[in-house]
Amino acid sequence: MKKFKLILNTILILFISISKSYSLVEVDITRGNLNPLPIAVSPLFQDNYSNTFFEKELEIKDIGSEISKVIENNLKQSGLFNPLSKDAFLQKPDIAHLKPRFEDWTLIKSQALITGKVTAVDEKLKVEFRLWDVLAGREMLALAFTTVPSNWRRVGHIITDKVYQRLTGEKGYFDTRIIYVSEEGPKTQRIKKLAIMDQDGFNTKYLTLGNELVLTPRFNPTNQMVTYLSYFRNLPRVYLLDIETGIQEVVGDFPGMTFAPRFSPDGKKIIMSFAKDGNSDIYTMDIENRIVERITNHPSIDTSPSYSPDGKFITFNSDRSGYQQIYVMKSDGSNVKRISFGKGLYGTPVWSPRGDLIAFTKLHKGKFYIGVMRVDGKGERLLTENYYQEAPSWAPNGRVLIFYRETKSNDKGEGFTAKLWSIDLTGYNERMVNTETDASDPSWSSLLSN
């Protein structure tokens, strides 16, 4: 176990001003957005002293420009914004940040503008930014952050979250991380490691060495702990890992395989399956007092449990009808109801953080789908079809899903890949998520800063 210290330095957020005036610029994220909002992200301006300081400190030239690229990339990946080419910008970053000449930005068809300034203050990184409504010719938002210089990418993510929230009216999902399983080697002897990275694929860290098979990592609500399945000593068991200390422990004392773990929404319990004598049922364990509770008791396979955000219900996967289907029950195991009734098999149900939808994997006629349905099973919508894909995980705002997709091998077993993909709830904006290696079993963190 490689010890890994998660850098969660507090970022000081200083509100300069938030203009509450009504604005023309807004983005509707409830539909597939075929006309992304044209936005200009001006490189953040920096004085000579700051430039030299950060170049020495971070070995990065022009940190202001790099932060603006982080923002630009985030906005582009969201599918809701169209960041304009910097080549077309007429106004210099420092002047634009003070007072944009709106006609210059209207000319290049920009509707919103982000400007900013980076300074070195007491060896810290201070970033100011402003969001401007170009058509109305006024400021919409102005904020400043101070943090350690190594946190510069996070500043870019936080700025994106603020801009996203101001323009869409919903919280963003950019200052987040993804925990996943990194995969290498041939299919028959795949080497798997736990890995964690920023939502945009940067800052990858490996949490295990690959000596034992690891699967299905999931964050706790504060993103400090991870629960996952490890084959340590060839005993497949659910583990709990403290990311900061690197300390890991087996969850519960079960005389058989435990798997499919997730945290309860308050982070106090782990819910998982326990398999014994050919039967898998759902159990919970209280992390603090270690009390184990049995939730289902049925001779079928019961697995992939996921709590509703209020903790009152659990959705899970069972083949009690003869085939894999999705069920919902009260969190004490009572009132079990089947909710999936479409054609095909259904698996990996996961409750939306907004509470209104359940995302799932569906297998029908040899194709795999990622879809969503309401919690009563109605309104099923399939978002994407492919040769193989499964295991959706929600972005904290409940607008985007991340999952993994595998390609078909030829008869020699060549051509196999596993990659992470994301798609909007609208079914639009499907994108591959960059990872250093092949990847599977992604789990999205909550927002790191609120």
Binding site: P186, K187, T188, Q189, R190, L213, L215, T216, L229, N234, P236, G256, M257, F259, A260, S273, A275, D277, G278, N279, S280, I301, T303, S304, N317, D319, Y323, Q324, G347, T348, T361, L363, G366, Y388, E390, A391, E406, K408, S409, N410, D411, K412, G413, F416, S440, D441
Partner: protein, 161 residues
């Protein structure tokens, strides 16, 4: 284009399609001889615990039922285990890649237990048998086709000591 050329082309097309269908028939025949009712019946990947004692049994998609052939294999294993009382075994249950990971872990566990139950019926005591599921994590054949998948849906009896 004159008539003879058209005829010639038509003939070529017919000839080609005959070749293609001949290949198709041949391929189906090989798969058919190795899969019966969705269960692998070949010997490609099979190893032996002892002479005449195959180490594994195969399953149909999403199924944990033991076929006649599987039961025959397990009876041979049971007889061999009764003759070798010092040997303990691990039953490794596996699934193919066409299912969700967590469900496949449960399915592999169920398959290995189906084999375990049968060995116990034929006189092997439970404390000599342990069970582990690998779900779809350890395929023996890395192809993505029905034959490869059928080889991977298996329970393998492995000597533990």
């Amino acid at each position: 284009m004159n008539l003879s050329k058209i005829l010639k082309n038509t003939f070529l097309v017919i000839l080609l399609s005959m070749v293609v269908s001949a290949c198709a028939t041949k391929k189906t025949a090989t798969i058919d001889s190795q899969i019966q009712g969705d269960v692998y019946t070949g010997t490609d990947t099979v190893e032996y615990l002892a002479k005449g004692v195959p180490d594994r049994v195969f399953f149909a998609t999403n199924e944990t039922i033991l076929t006649t052939m599987s039961r025959d294999t397990l009876r041979k294993q049971a007889a061999w285990l009764r003759e070798n009382p010092s040997v303990n075994v691990v039953l490794e249950g596996h699934a193919d890649e066409r299912g969700t990971r967590e469900y496949n872990l449960a399915l592999g566990e169920r398959r290995a237990n189906a084999a375990k139950d049968y060995l116990m019926t034929y006189g092997v005591s439970a404390d000599r048998i342990s069970v582990i599921s690998y779900g779809k994590e350890r395929p023996v054949d890395s192809g993505s086709n029905p034959l490869s998948w059928s080889k991977n849906r298996r329970s393998v009896t492995v000597k533990a000591n």
